[in-house]
């Protein structure tokens, strides 16, 4: 059975239809690449799934959850984590804190417990910290753990965001252009990292990426969008050779 089932999603902004009956599914453990030219509606789809945008019609099912009926702050709780195209870090917090915030929904300490540092709160804090350190080590970020996020190099920030999403211990990880702005070697490394994380943390990954080589090399499955519609779905090689996809990209290149 598929983990994520996106059916007939329609999103309109004024007169523009950003998503037009987009549908696809991802199975548990898959890495699914979501490709398409700029403006195809990839980020919009992310925003629908993480409930930052409201869909005009259609449904999103995640496991047994009806995603569109879940409020935005509970999305993390049902097991969906994401990163942002233009980075969604908390610049005045340290890298370690950023990652610990990723674990927010998994922890329970509230105002009173926090103020009085109850034993439960202290234990939870210690555990969260250890978890975050673990993940930072996995992603080779331990050396910047105590620096504020503001001011670190772009590539590092991208990885921090990834670490933060991992800390959420989610089932589905949605990555919005993780490779953008990275150097060639960084991109290769990133592909490795995504696979590694998927295996270690039992993740399912939905990946929006323009870097075709990486998408094709790590994805189990690729979905192509154009003008808000799904134009192709299948294995990387199937989609790569799909005439509709080629046309969509050529059209973009021609303009």
């Amino acid at each position: 059975m598929s983990l994520l089932e996106v059916s007939d999603i329609v999103v309109r902004f004024g007169g523009v239809t950003a998503l037009d009956e987009a549908s696809f599914t991802i199975d548990e453990g898959q890495i699914c690449g979501l490709i398409g030219p700029n403006g195809a509606g990839k980020t919009t789809l992310f925003n629908v799934i993480s409930r930052l945008y409201t869909a005009d019609s259609g449904s999103v099912r995640f496991g047994e959850h009806d995603v569109l009926a879940t409020p935005p702050h509970k999305i993390a709780g049902i097991g969906i984590a994401r990163t942002f195209q233009n980075l969604g870090l908390f610049p005045s917090n340290t890298v370690l804190q950023n990652v610990m915030i990723g674990a927010h929904h998994r922890t329970k300490t509230e105002f009173l417990q926090a103020m009085f540092r109850t034993p439960a709160a202290r234990r939870e804090e210690r555990e969260t910290r250890e978890l975050a350190i673990e993940i930072l080590n996995d992603l080779n970020l331990a050396h910047v753990a105590n620096s504020p996020a503001a001011g670190l190099p772009y590539g590092t920030l991208k990885r921090i965001e990834l670490a933060r999403a991992v800390a959420a211990d989610s089932k589905l990880l949605m990555l919005d252009e993780p490779a953008s702005g990275l150097t060639h070697s960084e991109v290769e490394e990133l592909g490795e990292t995504i696979r590694l994380l998927r295996d270690r943390y039992d993740l399912t990954v939905l990946l929006v990426e323009h870097h075709m080589a990486m998408v094709m090399s790590i994805s189990d499955k690729v979905v192509a969008l154009d003008f808000g519609r799904k134009i192709a779905e299948g294995t990387p090689s199937e989609v790569q050779n799909d005439p509709a996809v080629i046309e969509a990209y050529l059209g973009v290149e021609a303009s």
């Binding site: 980020t43 942002f84 195209q85 969604g88």
Partner: protein, 293 residues
């Protein structure tokens, strides 16, 4: 009914003053993104300058024109000396700096001119237009006309002049403006001078009615801030409408609602404004800010 119309007219008269100061706040905000707490005190100071010119024997119109020009220069000076060093700091830092300016101006005005109220010479002739039993004083008509003139001039400036366009560009995005060759620093300086002179107009035309003392603009500033926010911080037209609205509503509430009385009349416009903001957080005519993901 006489009472009603008189309350409305008095409301428009005082509301015009709120609107003028609110316009000054909006200009600074729209051209620099700053919120200037010292706007009222700067206006008060300008009124004293006009008073001083007049006391030295100049005619009142000459005195007020000179005072407005002086304020324009002083405003640019204040921006260069006091605000420029902090203009890239956090919003709160800048607000606190304008607070320091506020305290300083108030203290200096008191030191020079004393704390006793002074009679500011009438700018418009005494007397009133009688419509039925309602008298509309020339002063009220005059202040309202000045407000409309200022708002109109401002609109023209923003829409049709190069400097106005530059101001809008700077407010929208400082870095990009710099890239396309706008002299950002100069634009901000001129914007500040302009706002100071606009506030000066408010202060000078308020002075004959409110009597001149260093605290003349204290509460006016609160009303003006409320007007600016209510109208939409980046909308001059909104500031004008909101200023007039607050003046009128406040008077009607004080005049008619028994429980409110004059005691709590300041609360009424604030409550209305907040009620409105809860449904239109960007103010009446402000641009909506859409967060980007």
């Amino acid at each position: 009914m006489t009472k009603f119309f008189q309350l409305v007219i008095a409301g428009i008269e005082i509301g015009s003053i709120y609107a003028l100061v609110a316009l000054a706040i909006v200009i600074i905000y729209a051209s620099t993104g700053l919120k200037n707490l010292a706007q009222g005190e700067m206006a008060m100071f300008s009124a004293f300058i006009a008073y001083q010119f007049h006391a030295w024997g100049l005619g009142i119109w000459l005195a007020l024109i000179l005072a407005i020009l002086t304020t324009f220069v002083l405003g640019m000076g204040v921006q260069q000396v006091v605000l420029k060093p902090v203009q890239d700091s956090s919003l709160l830092t800048v607000v606190i700096v304008t607070l320091g300016l506020f305290l300083g101006l108030n203290s200096v005005a008191g030191f020079i001119w004393g704390y006793m109220m002074l009679a500011f010479p009438a700018i418009f002739p005494e007397g009133a237009v009688e419509i039925g039993s309602v008298g509309i004083s020339y002063a009220a008509i005059g202040v309202f006309a000045v407000l409309l003139a200022c708002a109109g001039a401002l609109f023209a400036l923003f829409q049709f002049t190069k400097i106005g366009l530059a101001m809008r560009a700077v407010a929208y995005n400082k870095e990009t403006s710099m890239l396309v060759g706008v002299q950002v620093n100069r634009v901000i300086m001129v914007g500040f001078g302009l706002a100071a002179s606009l506030g000066a107009v408010g202060g000078i035309f308020a002075a004959p009615k409110l009597f001149l003392d260093p605290f003349m603009m204290l509460t006016v500033l609160i009303y003006a801030l409320a007007s600016a926010a209510f109208g939409g911080l980046d909308s001059p037209l909104g500031a004008v409408i909101a200023g007039l609205f607050i003046g009128v509503i406040e008077n009607l509430a004080g005049g008619y609602i028994g429980f409110i009385g004059s005691d709590l009349k300041i609360v009424v416009p604030l409550v209305i404004i907040l009620g409105t903001l809860l449904f239109r957080p960007q103010g009446l005519l402000g641009r909506k800010y859409i967060p980007r993901v």
